[in-house]
Point group: C2
């Protein structure tokens, strides 16, 4: 693409550096912005400059937080002895939205992925081990994606933690609520049968 302006080209390059946005879509977005008023576009740009300069993380669970402790860790009603291990704050937000979990979190900041060169030292494994060694932790719940990276991380963490004497569990895997069995993929259906649960009313 030959751009008629360096400014447009630069903005297109920046937008298309984001995952899932191609150069054509980026140009469409840039032209859309040029129709907005100046202040709105300045606020758009400034929101990312503010984000990267002022972002801070909870010193306890490593989730993103504007205060030293995030809302969950700062809440005295939350059970600090139960830690749910998640990949990033998106999963934490999703679990919080269920309003079913009363413990706290540990944000790994990624999953082990040898293909992408991400090893255990690139995510917050040692921080989790430290917590378990130095604090009164009763239960660890793995809530990681059912992907190869999620399973690898699950397995690695389990090996590291299994001798600690703490209760270790993983979120249940099975048929999603509302799913019809004939359309469920074979691996999920197979897993759901072999991990069948006692029926309760």
């Amino acid at each position: 693409m030959n751009f008629p302006s360096k400014l447009v080209e630069n903005a297109v390059e920046q937008l298309s550096s984001l995952p899932g946005i191609g150069r054509r879509s980026a140009l469409r977005l840039v032209l859309h912005m040029l129709k907005k008023d100046k202040l709105a576009v300045e606020q758009f740009g400034d929101s990312f400059i503010q984000l990267i300069n002022r972002i801070s993380y909870c010193t306890k669970c490593y989730s993103i937080s504007d205060a030293e402790l995030c809302e969950v860790c700062a809440n005295p009603k939350r059970d600090k002895q139960t830690i749910c291990v998640v990949e990033d704050i998106r999963v934490m937000m999703a679990i919080e939205n269920t309003m079913q979990y009363k413990g706290v979190y540990h944000i790994l900041g990624g999953l082990i992925s040898p293909m992408d060169g991400i090893g255990p030292n690139d995510i917050r494994v040692e921080e989790l081990i430290n917590k378990i060694e130095n604090e009164n932790v009763q239960e660890i719940i793995f809530a990681l994606s059912t992907t190869m990276e999620g399973d690898t991380t699950n397995y690695y963490l389990f090996r590291r933690l299994k001798d600690s004497g703490i209760k270790i569990s993983s979120i249940a895997r099975g048929i999603a609520i509302g799913d019809e069995l004939e359309y469920t993929d074979e691996i999920t259906l197979g897993t759901a049968i072999s991990s069948r649960m006692p029926y309760s009313e």
Copy 2:
């Protein structure tokens, strides 16, 4: 969505204000940015602030240009008597990429769309009429989308220009090169038959 941080929430709101980006995708993009280094994200934000503050338009064809005249209008080899009327610079860039056109452009900056409240006064119609009245223009080529808005704009412009004595044409509509006839939609195929062209070797 309850965000753990106002900074993240603000960046997500800004990104999801763009067409085609939802709040979940926006959050994914924001978390992606937080993994990049500070300078890269600052450059990202700054590119839009620079864009909106320093953007300028060609005084002749209204395309985006860093100079007073865009590269096309400033090129002495281009035929200034032939004006191709387009919706925005994306179409201009697409036509330039064909390297088949030697005239200049007129960027309307939109299409007439009564449904969206966009009338002839909201796009650069008068500027086109002025050019035709005051300059030596020989031919006008409409290169507008084959949508209802494009056709409405074509028709409106044709009505305004038909008594000017200038040659008026529209880009050919028909079967795309490489298309198989049995899969072509009926309207396109019908138009292609009724606008059949003399066969030339």
